[in-house]
């Protein structure tokens, strides 16, 4: 425990002192009436806690998410009451779905006005209750240390998530004796269960006698820092492993046992082999419906081992034959002790055969197209080649997201940041901004659609003001592409409100003094990508791609994973 300190300060100063104590270096925010005292303190402590002024509160919360996911630290955003609070709702819900640790400090009206429909009062506790891991209203300054200590502890421990602190202006102004102790336990909260060795042994027995074992891994591996253990485990057992969208980059893309991505637009082998394996080992993933397709026909033949930190995920979607509750890293460490060295070359080869089929029917056309129009796939491939697998890819939502997840390559963990559970358009640009501030020495590339870009493009202002060196690649198909794809496939090409009349993106970037270039021809693409990557500072590259390309393979909504289709 850290030694206690004591001094008389006001609540606003106390909040900043806590941020420093918690090791927070960067916060994202936007001022307003109910956080004026807090902003006064932010100015005072700015040399220790760097505040980034965004252009819309949604930008602040997504930036905090991007920052957190790139670094593993708790992301912090600070916004005012009422509209400031409601503007971060989307990001809070997104962080809840994707288990991202956030502490959102939100201003609130003075305590005597609570519940009176005061100016810029919103019921923040009520509004955020279903989309936070925890929230708390602070009306008096002396509540600040304990509430904030709990907030950071709850946000980062166990299965992480967003925490909201609704801080009345009254508490920000009040003076009190400040004394801080970090929180490391709460009586009613068990963040991680202790491992049960009997369960580990049971799982090891299943794995040791399996003929076609198959491992699926998700965000939990990244959250618990279990990347090395995962690799050791698959190498010892020879088990093929597939990642979920949020598990991307937890393993080297080119590792011989990494067979690719699960899910609706995942790879062919990983999907169909789910229904052929005899033991399915799920690590730190929650069987999202985009992964399982129809659950009734999902891996009925397999014994399921589920390694998971959140007890509520066990048997929620897929019944586990062996449930291992606990931290993924520790569970894998223990499991490695009990599994026998093995090889499953023939079985792994089946995935390779599937890949060949997928390559021939889908991948080749996507990333080495022979048609005139540019494809999203070739852009992503070229960017990946240029950065040699050493960059953070951030995406928005839609076709460009799926193409980026399919064709970007990773050598390092925490290198893929995307809105998975909530699928929030507008996530890409601000999240990339946050990621770059968290990892200033890494390349950060945002792949965004022409639609999603326009949901948060005001953050070009933030990027420009702070010269945040993100590279934004707009894959412009002039459509809300993913929705158009569904309209084409399932609504007889009735393109209801999916065509966009777009602004001149280059002029927009220029208006913000950001270097930009537009590419319409293949011969210009590689050069433009090089120019972007080599450029110091922010850069926007617009690539005009084929308007009506579709993302394949595809597991049609509600269909079984074995019904994945490779072509229309």
């Amino acid at each position: 425990m850290t030694p206690a300190i004591q001094q008389k300060v006001n609540g606003a100063d106390a909040i900043l002192k806590v941020l420093i104590k918690e090791g927070v270096e960067t916060v994202f925010g936007y001022p307003g009436g109910a956080v004026l005292p807090l902003y006064d303190a932010i100015m005072k402590y700015h040399h220790k806690v760097h505040h980034v002024l965004v252009r819309h509160e949604q930008g602040a919360v997504h930036a905090a998410q991007g920052y957190s996911r790139a670094t593993g630290k708790v992301g912090v955003c600070i916004v005012t009451s009422g509209p400031g609070a409601t503007n971060i709702i989307t990001g809070i819900a997104d962080a809840m779905m994707d288990s991202t640790p956030l502490v959102c400090v939100i201003g609130q009206v003075v305590a005597p006005l609570l519940g009176t429909d005061a100016f810029q009062e919103a019921d923040v506790i009520g509004l955020t209750m279903p989309i936070t891991k925890w929230n708390y209203q602070i009306t008096s300054a002396d509540e600040i240390p304990e509430a904030m200590a709990k907030a950071f502890y709850i946000a980062r421990s166990g299965r992480p998530g967003p925490v909201v602190l609704d801080v009345s202006k009254t508490a920000q102004i009040q003076e009190f004796d400040f004394h801080y102790e970090r929180c490391n336990k709460i009586r009613s909260y068990v963040p991680v269960q202790n491992l049960r060795v009997d369960k580990i042994k049971e799982a090891a027995d299943l794995i040791n006698s399996a003929n076609k074992p198959y491992l699926l891994f998700g965000n939990g591996v990244i959250i618990s820092g279990a990347e090395k253990e995962l690799q050791q485990f698959v190498e010892k057992t020879g088990i093929p492993a597939a990642w979920t969208l949020l598990g991307l980059s937890a393993m080297d893309t080119d590792h011989p046992l990494n067979v690719g991505m699960l899910g609706m637009h995942g790879n062919y082998g990983p999907n169909i082999k789910t229904n052929e394996c005899d033991v399915l080992i799920a690590v730190g993933m929650r069987f999202d419906d985009r992964v399982t397709g129809d659950v009734k026909t999902y891996a009925p033949q397999a014994k399921v081992i589920h390694i998971e930190v959140d007890p509520a995920e066990i048997d929620k979607i897929i019944k586990a034959d062996v449930a291992i509750l606990g931290d993924a890293k520790k569970a894998l460490q223990k499991l490695i002790e009990f599994v026998k060295p093995n090889k499953h070359d023939e079985w792994v080869n089946e995935f390779k055969e599937c890949y060949k089929i997928e390559h021939k029917k889908v991948i080749k056309k996507d990333i080495y197209p022979t048609k005139k129009e540019l494809t999203m796939g070739e852009v992503v491939r070229l960017v990946a080649e240029k950065v040699n697998g050493d960059a953070i890819a951030v995406t928005d939502v839609g076709q460009q997201q799926m193409i980026a997840s399919r064709y970007f390559k990773f050598k390092q963990s925490r290198s893929f940041i995307s809105s998975g559970g909530l699928g929030t358009m507008g996530f890409g640009v601000p999240a990339a901004m946050g990621a770059k501030l968290g990892q200033p020495n890494r390349q950060v590339i945002a792949f965004v659609g022409d639609g999603g870009f326009q949901m948060t493009l005001q953050e070009l202002g933030t990027i420009s003001q702070y010269q945040i060196g993100v590279k934004i690649v707009i894959l412009n198909n002039n459509y809300l592409g993913m929705v158009r794809q569904w309209q084409q496939l399932f609504f007889d090409k009735r393109y209801s409100f999916t065509h966009l009349q777009n602004p001149d993106f280059i002029k927009l970037a220029e208006a913000y003094s950001i270097n930009a270039r537009k590419v319409t021809k293949r011969e210009d693409l590689a050069g433009a990508i090089s120019e972007m990557i080599d450029h110091q500072g922010p850069y926007l590259l617009e690539v005009v791609v084929e308007k009506e390309d579709n993302v394949f393979p595809m597991v049609p909504a509600g269909a079984s994973v074995s019904k994945i289709i490779l072509e229309p």
């Binding site: 506790i125 009520g126 209750m129 279903p130 891991k133 925890w134 929230n135 209203q137 709850i154 336990k185 709460i186 009586r187 009613s188 909260y189 068990v190 963040p191 991680v192 202790n194 959140d310 007890p311 509520a312 066990i314 048997d315 929620k316």
Partner: protein
């Protein structure tokens, strides 16, 4: 198959927790048949008793979600058979109906109810029991005109094992200490 379940949750006594728990049901469109919240045997710890009618699968998942809440110490569910439970009902009838014949008095005796208060205008009768019993008495009394009727949520305790809350808390402390 739908069936009645009694969900019990021991929680910290914190503002907003009732809301936090009920939205877990609302979100899944599960109706709460009855709800009782009060301080448990240990000061500062509340006990929620929630009755729902649903499948065991759904109820077990809902209980896990309740258990997951930061301020919930422990949540579990039981079938009616596994618990001893009661509800309390209050009935207000015109005193005139009581005095004009001995029928109400004999109902009170027959149903093991009792009279709480008699004024010249009204009489308040109390009965504890299962919902069917308090309902049956309501229907019988209503022949004479029940002026007001109010039934509580369920209170319930398990048949076994005995609820050892303080032992549970000791175990919890040990568990928390064992987690790094």
């Amino acid at each position: 198959m739908n069936q009645e379940f009694i969900i019990s949750a021991f929680t910290e006594n914190h503002i907003g927790l009732l809301n936090r728990i009920t939205i877990i049901f609302t979100r899944r469109k599960i109706n709460i048949e009855s709800l009782t919240v009060s301080e448990s045997a240990l000061a500062g710890i509340s006990k929620f008793t929630i009755v729902v009618n649903d499948t065991q699968d759904k109820v077990s998942k809902v209980v896990k979600q309740i258990d997951k809440l930061v301020e919930v110490l422990k949540a579990y569910y039981h079938t009616n058979e596994e618990m001893i439970y009661q509800e309390i009902a209050l009935y207000k009838v015109p005193t005139e109906a009581l005095t004009s014949s001995n029928q109400i008095e004999s109902l009170v005796r027959q149903y093991n109810a009792r009279i709480l208060e008699v004024t010249s205008d009204y009489t308040v009768i109390e009965k504890t029991g299962k919902k069917e019993e308090t309902q049956e008495l309501f229907e019988r009394l209503n022949q004479f005109g029940v002026l007001q009727f109010n039934r509580s949520g369920r209170v319930a305790i398990t048949r076994s094992p005995i609820e050892r809350l303080s032992a549970f808390l000791k175990d919890r402390d040990k568990l928390l200490a064992s987690i790094e």
